[in-house]
């Protein structure tokens, strides 16, 4: 069973404020989900290289070139608050 303290620690790491409802709901759900996930522990995987992408591909790199980007106003238009060409954030005490 995941404790409330553990849950709060994960929420802190994930930068998520949880509602009262979620704090009440998650511990039991997480415990049953994690118990189900732990089935994989019994599969022998010694010396097996983890697979992080499913097809055989090679890393490709491109040149780091400067290119003009003319849509900065469209990007800035999405800002919750802006000041000229800058993103504005509230003061943090």
């Amino acid at each position: 069973m995941i404790s409330e303290a553990q849950l709060k620690r994960i929420a802190e790491l994930a930068r998520l404020q949880l509602t009262e409802g979620e704090l009440a709901l998650y511990p039991k759900q997480f415990s049953s989900i994690l118990e189900y996930f732990e089935k994989i522990a019994k599969i022998p995987t010694e010396k097996v290289e983890p697979l992080v992408t499913p097809t055989d591909m090679v890393q490709t790199l491109r040149g780091d070139e400067v290119k003009p980007w003319e849509h900065h106003n469209e990007s800035l238009a999405n800002a919750p608050e802006r000041s000229g060409n800058l993103f504005k954030v509230p003061p943090v005490v």
Binding site: K39, P54, T55, N78
Partner: protein, 492 residues
Amino acid sequence: MEDIYFTTITSLRDRIRRGDIKAREVIEKYLGRAQKLNQRLNAFISLNQEGALAQADKIDQMVASGKDPGPLAGVPMAIKDMLCTRGLKTTAASRILYNYVPPYSATVVERLEAAGAITLGKANQDEFAMGSSSENSFFGVVKNPWDENYVPGGSSGGTAAAVAAGMSVAGIGTDTGGSIRQPAHFCGVVGVKPTYGRVSRYGIIAFASSLDQAGPMTRTIKDSAEMMEVICGWDKMDATTAKVQVPKWSTQLSSNLKGIKIGLPKEYYSSAFAPDTQKVIDQALAVVREAGAQIVEVSIPLTEFGVPIYYLVAASEASSNLARYDGVRFGHRADFSKKPAEDLAEFYSRSRGEGFGTEVKRRIMLGTYALSSGYYDAYYRKACQVRRLLRDQFKKVFTECDALLTPVASTPAFKIGERIADPLQMYMNDIYTTSTNLVGIPGLSVPGGMSSEGLPIGVQITAAHFCEEKMLNVGFAIEQALGIWKKVPNGL
């Protein structure tokens, strides 16, 4: 006039290209119908009223002046709201992006539009594509056009419902663990997830980058092939796209399956399916046998671990991908005017806590836990190791057969609200679809029959990496023999 609503891409674009019908007329009618039916089905988050008509006029001008308007000329598309569309709101069905207007379009959208397709609107879905029922949307639940008490499946439920209801001719979904194939199955349409690396992910809101793949949702296999020819192929903007030739699938379809070996993984068939699902599978097997295919039993012993591996990998990648939503540069920001944040962590936590829905938070939390110090080896790393073993088993199976035929899910659509309270039960629905993404192979769902309640049932076909042709042919044989795709929902 021939019905323009329940038509195919090939038929509609031929009529538009010949000048038999104007693209503007088609789009005006579709916008009207989509708007009207959306009040019942909630399949679209937004409609592209002005943009779609402007695109249609461009097609009509090209036809009038004898220019080639492209292979998808004038065809309306429901684009899942995971794909960025320049100047058109893109939300991922989340409060955290409720007002986001992208400054660029996804490569998939650019390619579709360059081929003449019209972006009709942005389709509803589960928030950030996390869900199997399209009930997890900030913009409300999507309804199944065959029976509005049922879910359309998910996460691409809006696209599936729009195509099934004749609100669009075709559309784009994304599939991370079955999110194209399962709603296609629930709504009676064709849905194809191409091989990982076939389709550029540039401009598609990231959920789990090693699993996500966009694909077509259409009325027929041929229509899906037509769209794949347009959207597949290497893209300099996505380093994971493959430099593999894109075949002309639509011109090579054949329902003759002589020489094709179809595998039935015994682990998929070891548990009982709903009786109607079993009937549809039996009928599909009879069809492919009749078409000349040989049926062989194969084994994928790790099948039962597909769901745990999938949810560990997907949640871990999601917790990392969704870290970008911080309330600074775009999207939802909590109101700090009355109660300022004590520190930067609180600034992020409050905005994210308000912006994400319960299922998205649940997965970010699970992923954070699986990646955290002390648990990484037991969860994330272990899941990636078993993922390799699973891929090896699939590779071996495809030396014994050309394609696999299985159900998409063990039941047809379920009722709205029926499973939402138990996330683990919802995750376990995905047992037949998640392995496809973990190993990166292509998969599709093709309509195969109807349940006694009148709900569609699809058949899933998968094949080896980059072998879409065989998979499409098996689907084509089933579609041609059974003709289920011609059925349309009553009362729409």
